[in-house]
């Protein structure tokens, strides 16, 4: 045990002596959260809505007022004909257009079959999808109000648009999307990249030999290398949670304990992966390359920070299944945002735990054979 603590202390010293390591470990999570939170905001904000329809119609006016009063939307102008929409989009005068059908109010009252079209600017599909989705929600709430107004009048129902309800994230806040992603990314970076690089560095300089020739058991040497990164990632996990909760106002709807447990399982998976990479990499550059190309990039892509996973080709979706971070991110989304319990995240949890066990077994075995 004495031998073990001595080497753990040494690992901590290595980390705190190296400015770059400290910078990556302590500053990057904060920067990423702030960056994604404010600079790379993909959320629906200050959306300019062009309106096309008969503004003399009270039902139309009601809906336009509702849109204008929404804190995320503002009506930027009215168009006399739908053919003007293209021009408005091209001149970047509006982000989305809402077209009301002929005799909107009349159709709404007696038949409940009023027509309204939402036309998004598809040149930015992600944003357009969010905006149209959000607008649908606004219209939906108008419809609900109309239904209340019609209540008691028998069969009459108001219907304006396909019913789409946006749960959990009505404003399509992008922070809901990227917080789990950043969490997965950071934990993976700290645990996998930094562990593998620190082991490979000792392999390169020959000091690993020095540790191996000592009476400390190889497995303990490896464990002592992992413990500081485990501690670091716990600190990072807490930082991200606090920042996202208090600065980004992302709710923690589910059990915090479950969230921590999921993080722990993911960290173990990442550490095992780091060990495996350190066994197969001859030098630090290779280790970095494998981590960067093989882990960080796919994690970025599949975490939903940049692209929604659903819009990917099927082959890529299969590929995304073997990336541990994907499952962790799903669990975080479920537990943190949706507030579900262990039961509904059981599948992902099982997959992640399975990956952890498998990677741990494989990496320890390969590390042992490497020593012979």
């Amino acid at each position: 045990m004495k031998e073990f603590t001595a080497s753990v202390v040494k690992e901590f010293r290595h980390i705190f002596r190296d400015r770059r390591t400290i910078l990556i470990a302590m500053v990057m999570p904060v920067v990423q959260i702030i960056l994604f939170g404010f600079a790379v905001s993909t959320e629906v904000n200050d959306v300019r809505v062009a309106v096309c329809g008969d503004l003399a119609d009270p039902a139309v006016r009601n809906l336009v007022d509702r849109i204008d009063n929404n804190r995320y939307l503002s009506v930027s102008g009215s168009l006399s004909s739908p053919s003007e929409i293209t021009g408005v989009f091209r001149r970047n005068e509006a982000d989305v257009a809402v077209c009301f059908g002929r005799n909107f109010g009349e159709n709404l009252a007696p038949s409940g079959r009023a027509q309204v079209r939402i036309i998004g600017d598809g040149s930015d599909p992600n944003t357009a999808q969010m905006i149209t989705g959000y607008l649908k929600g606004v219209i939906q709430s108008e419809q609900t109000d109309a239904e209340v107004a019609f209540a008691g009048e028998g069969e009459r129902k108001a219907s304006m648009a396909p019913v789409v309800q946006l749960m959990y994230n009505p404003a399509m806040k992008s922070s809901y999307n990227f917080v789990p992603g950043v969490m997965g990314l950071i934990l993976m970076l700290i645990c996998t990249m930094m562990t593998s690089v620190s082991i490979v560095r000792e392999k390169e300089t020959g000091t690993l030999e020095l540790l191996l020739v000592s009476p400390v058991k190889p497995l303990w040497i490896i464990l002592s290398k992992m413990i500081p990164y485990l501690v670091l990632s716990a600190v990072n996990f807490a930082t991200i949670l606090l920042l996202s909760h208090y600065v980004m106002e992302v709710p923690i709807n589910g059990s915090l304990l479950l969230l921590c447990f999921a993080a722990l399982v993911f960290v173990v998976t990442s550490l095992a992966l780091g060990l495996l990479i350190s066994v197969i990499s001859p030098n630090q550059r290779t280790a970095l390359l494998i981590c960067g190309m093989g882990l960080t990039m796919p994690t970025m892509i599949f975490s939903g920070i940049i692209f929604p996973c659903e819009s990917m080709p099927e082959v890529l979706q299969w590929f995304s299944d073997i990336i541990p971070a994907k499952w962790f991110i799903i669990i975080v989304k479920k537990v943190m945002i949706q507030g579900t319990g262990l039961v509904s995240a059981a599948k992902e949890m099982t997959i992640l735990a399975g990956m952890a066990a498998l990677l741990l077994a494989v990496s320890i075995k390969s590390f042992r054979t490497r020593l012979q």
């Binding site: 080497s7 002596r17 300089t205 009476p215």
Partner: protein
Amino acid sequence: MDRNAVEIRNLTKKFGDFTAVDNISFNVRKGEIFGFLGANGAGKTTAMRILCGLSLPTAGEGTVAGYDINTQQEKIKRHIGYMSQKFSLYPDLTVRENIRLFGGIYGLRDRQIREKTDALLGMLEMQSEKDRFAGSLPLGWKQKLAFSIAMIHDPEIIFLDEPTGGVDPETRRRFWEMIYDASEKGTTVFVTTHYMDEAEYCDRVSVMVDGRIAALDSPERLKSAYGADNMDEVFRIIVR
């Protein structure tokens, strides 16, 4: 007790089809300075790794410090010291932290480590350098410090893997004084080297060629046997 420090019988190590060490046998006497010579790729490093308990032989048997190389690797590790020129200290740790670390991983108690640290710093006259990063020390000091740290747990045998690479002859000579001191105190020294003048300092020398031991004797007898003036000539004749 009159056993040898190292006894090796018919040791063979194969990597796939390649035979790195081919059926070698030798003894190293207690307290002796044993030079382990050979060109690069002759199998020195592989053999040394087996003796240090880092690797298992494909065939053959032997003991190091009285412990079996096939079954008692952990015990061997406890009773040997190891120093390599390539790197034996952590450059981002201070002198004192390096001493602490190796004292710790060799299982010394805190009190022992403190005593050792003081004794060691005093002996090396490095008291004022104790909080300097090891990486910033001159190479000669690094080697002396590394040697002393490798001896921190008073091992029976110390393995030196090309300990003096890249230093001037004067520094090398002073380093050898430390080796002699250790040997006089009863520590067996097992040293690999490229420098033939260092081979002259050894009590006995073995020369490995293609995984076999081609010659093994004292430098004087080797020189007379091969009719050479110095070990450099002896080495060239054998390797050719």
